[in-house]
């Protein structure tokens, strides 16, 4: 019996202690009409050896691809120590640290995470994760609406340069709160929001918050300072949704404009989390200290024990569902703790300098990629503006068709933009992190060239 330790003898003696004869008697309270009938497709249990054979075959089928896609998920270098440590049983098989004294490992680590992530974002406070970057943005929107009591409006200004799927997720998650997501178009020459085009008339009901992405989905750099100041002037809160690796090089949200943003969130995956078909990743969410009581998710506080020693514990739990129930800041309970464990170890191993190098290396490699790809006949850089580690190129033919041909050669060639941005018909979003070698970039370009002609 896989994973069940009971011998027949033990089972019998335990049943005897309980005072029943058969295990089945323990289920006597289930009405007979509800007893499960045999399933239609019974599955044999596999041994670890057999399931290993199956899964190794399947993993091999997906292996050895060369990746030039980003779009919210990036293949960065991950120091080996990160996962060798994070998968230690003591981290891997613990629950949420409800019993603080028996969970100081996880709790201290999470406090360290809060500190590091706040520092990276230039913010005062960080929670210990939400599900992913998309749901973190949704929670940020809900939080902004709750927090901005001055603005009577529940409208949110949402640039179209925010990740298109994030916008859909936000819509799914906030739809029932009477929140209006108002789209803000980008300038078709720059691929960014034009701050000078923003106008708010007197009779405009206003907005609770403006969302600003950095980099924007097209890899470009939004005018974050101007946008932040404009929003603040108009009584809005500012929500940043940013790439954490980029923040080692670019101005972090806490330093945008005069006052910095109010809420910063994003996808934590670039900080030591494998691509893994899209998850598990983790969403981060930071804010000003003054908004902390509106923050969803777990928070760890440093405190003292009976003997005045330092220790760590869950705190401000009154925000959470297990205490506040229907009045909680969010319904989140299980978060993405182990991913945060990995990210914390990752940040400690890379340090500021390593993270900066990763950040800049990705930028420089993407510059190389841009040069090499736009040298191909018929391929053009769509927006001729600065980018961070992604950019859009216009191909001479449909990007999705090209991607399928590249896939046949084990290359993930980027992301086709047409389905989310019909106006960018042949647009392809490409990325080269620090991991991509010159030879790989060259190989990609060569194959692309072949495919295009």
């Amino acid at each position: 019996m896989p994973f069940i330790p009971h011998t027949e003898v033990e089972t019998q003696s335990m049943l005897a202690s309980i005072g029943v004869e058969h295990i089945d008697s323990l289920f006597e309270e289930i009405p007979p009409s509800l007893r499960a009938s045999p399933v239609d497709h019974p599955l044999d249990g596999l041994s670890e050896m057999e399931v290993g054979q199956l899964m190794r075959e399947r993993a091999t089928a997906d292996d050895h691809t060369l990746c030039f896609a980003g779009g919210g998920a990036y293949q960065h270098h991950i120091p080996a120590a990160v996962w060798e440590l994070a998968t230690r049983g003591e981290y891997y098989s613990a629950y949420t640290p409800y019993q603080a004294e028996a969970s100081q490992g996880t709790l201290q680590l999470l406090y360290e995470y809060q500190s590091m992530m706040s520092s990276l974002m230039g913010m005062e406070v960080s929670n210990t994760s939400l599900y992913d970057g998309a749901s973190a943005l949704a929670e940020a929107v809900l939080m902004a609406v709750r927090s901005n009591r001055k603005a009577k409006s529940k409208r949110i200004l949402m640039p179209v340069t925010v990740h298109p799927i994030y916008r859909k997720v936000v819509s799914t998650l906030v739809r029932h709160q009477d929140i209006d997501l108002v789209e803000l178009e980008y300038n078709s020459a720059t691929g960014t929001i034009d701050p000078d085009s923003l106008q708010l008339s007197e009779e405009d009901p206003g907005y609770a918050a403006l969302v600003i992405p950095l980099p924007g989905y097209f890899g470009t750099l939004e005018a974050v300072h101007k946008l932040t100041d404009w929003a603040h002037e108009h009584g809005m809160l500012v929500i940043a949704t940013v790439n954490p690796v980029a923040m080692a090089t670019l101005t972090p949200p806490g330093e945008w404009g005069e006052k910095g943003v109010d809420i910063a969130c994003g996808e934590g995956q670039p900080l030591g989390i494998p691509l893994s078909s899209g998850g598990p990743y983790f969403g981060f969410l930071c804010c000003r200290q003054s908004l902390v009581r509106q923050l969803p998710g777990r928070l760890i506080g440093r405190t003292r024990d009976l003997e005045d020693r330092e220790g760590f514990a869950l705190t401000l739990q009154a925000r959470e569902q297990h205490i506040r129930r229907s009045k909680a800041t969010s319904n989140i309970c299980t978060n993405q703790g182990l991913m945060v464990t990995a990210a914390t170890i990752f940040m400690s191993l890379m340090g500021a300098r390593g993270l900066e190098q990763m950040s800049q290396g990705s930028h420089l490699n993407t510059e190389k990629l841009a040069q090499r790809i736009t040298a191909i006949e018929g391929v053009k850089q769509t927006f001729k503006v600065p980018f961070f580690h992604e950019l859009v190129v216009t191909l001479p033919q449909s990007a999705s068709g090209v991607l399928e041909q590249l896939a046949a050669e084990q290359i993930v060639g980027g992301i086709a933009l047409q389905s989310h941005y019909p106006e960018l018909e042949n647009g392809l979003l490409i990325c080269a992190t620090e991991l991509r070698t010159d030879a790989e970039i060259d190989h990609f370009a060569t194959v692309l060239e072949r495919v295009l002609c």
Binding site: L26, S93, Q104, Y111, S276, G279, D305, A313, R325
Partner: protein
């Protein structure tokens, strides 16, 4: 000692430098000055050994399944098979970009598809979406689906979700996120939903009810068919909170009980690790009625020639879907672990999970009862968990459930869930799970008995606990009052 306190200005773990960046002058002309980071980034500056030693030592301060008995009620802390971890972390799975072509993902997609099928089968439902990242997101999805169903029928007066008072906090919180008002239903002394009370509040304003079965009181809701018919007759739907599915796997199916949609916490029943907080995954499974509203993406199967091809189902395939819950397709790595586990169990193994989790719970309950502890619902059979109430001990000896919990740590057992469900005073919700052996259960009983003796003879021993852990009892009030959440912002 914090990692920051090990930091020394100028130290750099250069093994993790990025190729070429060390020697190259930074060439950031492409990035306008105004956009560059000005205040330099502060992170700990430690050597690799310092980091490895720090996080290894820290890990040893945790209790975990791999080191301790962990009978945390409602959380199903059973053995997380190492094989699931190793196989889910094969390079082929870890390296796949989520936007990669379906051609390059048939291995993982086949596994996800199979898992969808298994979850349908074990719950007696029609279709599965794997995308919710945890139970609470599954709840949101399920309730949103209920809402989408009513909306699609133009039935827009329904603005209430019913929730028993024993429910987990996520239930009301999720209902509210879906725009519903929450109405609490009382539980009777037998641990069942009070049917009279239920009948009174059900009406045309009722969108649905959220139930766990077995409930968080550790008993099976015997009147579930009646509840279903009350709801369905009133036009409401039934949501099943799958947190306690472990107790009934292969024994009875939510679909047969009359539920319309359920979520499954794979980090409970399907033994994916909880990782000190997460990640989990909370697949939602729906019957015919609600299947069209499942969140996207899902995995579909097509037979082309002799071959099976898997593909993502999105908006075009599922036009009535409530939409997307995450940027990609949920916690795939977690789902792979759940799939591997499910395949190792097979159909028979699932029923064995229920058998032995229930056996362990009833055994432990009986032994504790014989040892003099008071059960919350002594007249009922336990399911996979049960409740001890220490009301008497708290009153007579001044030793609370929390004191018992902390003292258990000294004896090498993680504490059960305390003070949940809210309606039972001074309670311990105890869930041993099927993967614990009898010796361990016996040792737990022994510890409980010893603590009871201490509570009678030297209560300070219990009230001052824990004594042997890295820290003594922590000051939660101070933590909340003198907020210290960020080392870099400390005074």
């Amino acid at each position: 000692m914090l990692i920051f306190e090990r930091s020394e200005a100028g130290r750099f773990n250069s093994a993790q430098r990025i190729a070429g960046q060390e020697s190259q002058a930074l060439r950031l002309e492409g990035i306008p000055q105004a956009m560059r980071r000005k205040n330099s980034l502060q992170l700990p500056e430690v050597s690799e050994l310092q980091s490895v030693r720090h996080y290894t030592q820290l890990s040893q301060k945790n209790f975990s399944i791999d080191t301790h008995f962990y009978p945390l009620g409602s959380c199903t802390m059973k053995y997380n098979p190492r094989g699931c971890n190793t196989l889910a972390m094969l390079p082929g799975f870890l390296g796949r970009h989520p936007a990669g072509s379906e051609q390059l993902g048939q291995g993982v997609m086949a596994s996800l598809y199979d898992l969808q099928e298994i979850l349908c089968e074990v719950t007696g439902m029609k279709a599965t979406s794997l995308s919710p990242a945890a139970g609470a997101q599954g709840e949101f999805a399920g309730v949103a689906m209920i809402r989408a169903y009513h909306d699609a029928r133009g039935d827009e007066t329904r603005n209430e979700i019913l929730v028993p008072d024993a429910a987990h906090g996520t239930n009301p919180a999720s209902a509210v996120m879906c725009g519903y008002a929450v109405k609490e239903i009382p539980t009777n002394s037998e641990g069942d939903v009070d049917l009279d009370a239920l009948r009174k509040v059900v009406g045309p304003q009722t969108a649905g009810i959220m139930l766990t079965n077995p409930s968080t009181l550790g008993v099976f809701e015997r009147k579930i068919e009646e509840i279903a018919s009350i709801l369905h007759q009133a036009g409401g739907l039934l949501y099943y909170d799958g947190a306690n599915l472990n107790a009934i796997l292969g024994k009875t199916r939510p679909g047969d009980m009359g539920f319309d949609v359920i979520h499954i916490n794979v980090h409970k029943t399907f033994s994916t690790p909880h990782g000190g907080g997460g990640p989990g995954a909370g697949p939602v499974v729906a019957n015919e009625r609600l299947a069209p509203y499942l969140p996207i993406p899902m995995v579909g199967e097509e037979k082309i020639g002799g071959e099976t091809i898997y593909r993502w189902l999105g908006e075009e395939d599922c036009p009535q879907s409530i939409g997307r819950l995450s940027a990609w397709s949920g916690n795939v790595g977690v789902l792979l672990r759940a799939y591997i586990y499910a395949r190792m169990l097979g159909t028979e193994g699932m029923e064995r999970v229920a058998n032995y989790s229930v056996l362990n719970a009833n055994y432990l309950m009986k032994r504790l009862q014989k040892a003099g502890f008071t059960l919350a619902i002594p007249q009922r059979r336990a399911t996979h968990e049960f409740i001890v109430t220490l009301k008497r001990e708290a009153k007579e000896l001044g030793v609370s459930a929390m004191d018992f919990a902390k003292r258990l740590l000294d004896y090498g057992h993680h504490a059960p869930t305390t003070y949940f469900p809210l309606l039972v005073p001074e309670c311990l919700l105890i869930e041993p799970t099927e993967t614990e052996d009898r010796e361990t259960l016996d040792a737990f009983v022994e510890a409980m008995v010893t603590i009871l003796g201490e509570a009678e003879n030297s209560p300070d021993q219990v009230k001052g606990a824990p004594w042997t852990l890295p820290v003594r009892r922590l000051d939660d009030v101070r933590a909340a009052r003198e907020l210290d959440l960020n080392w870099y912002q400390r005074d």
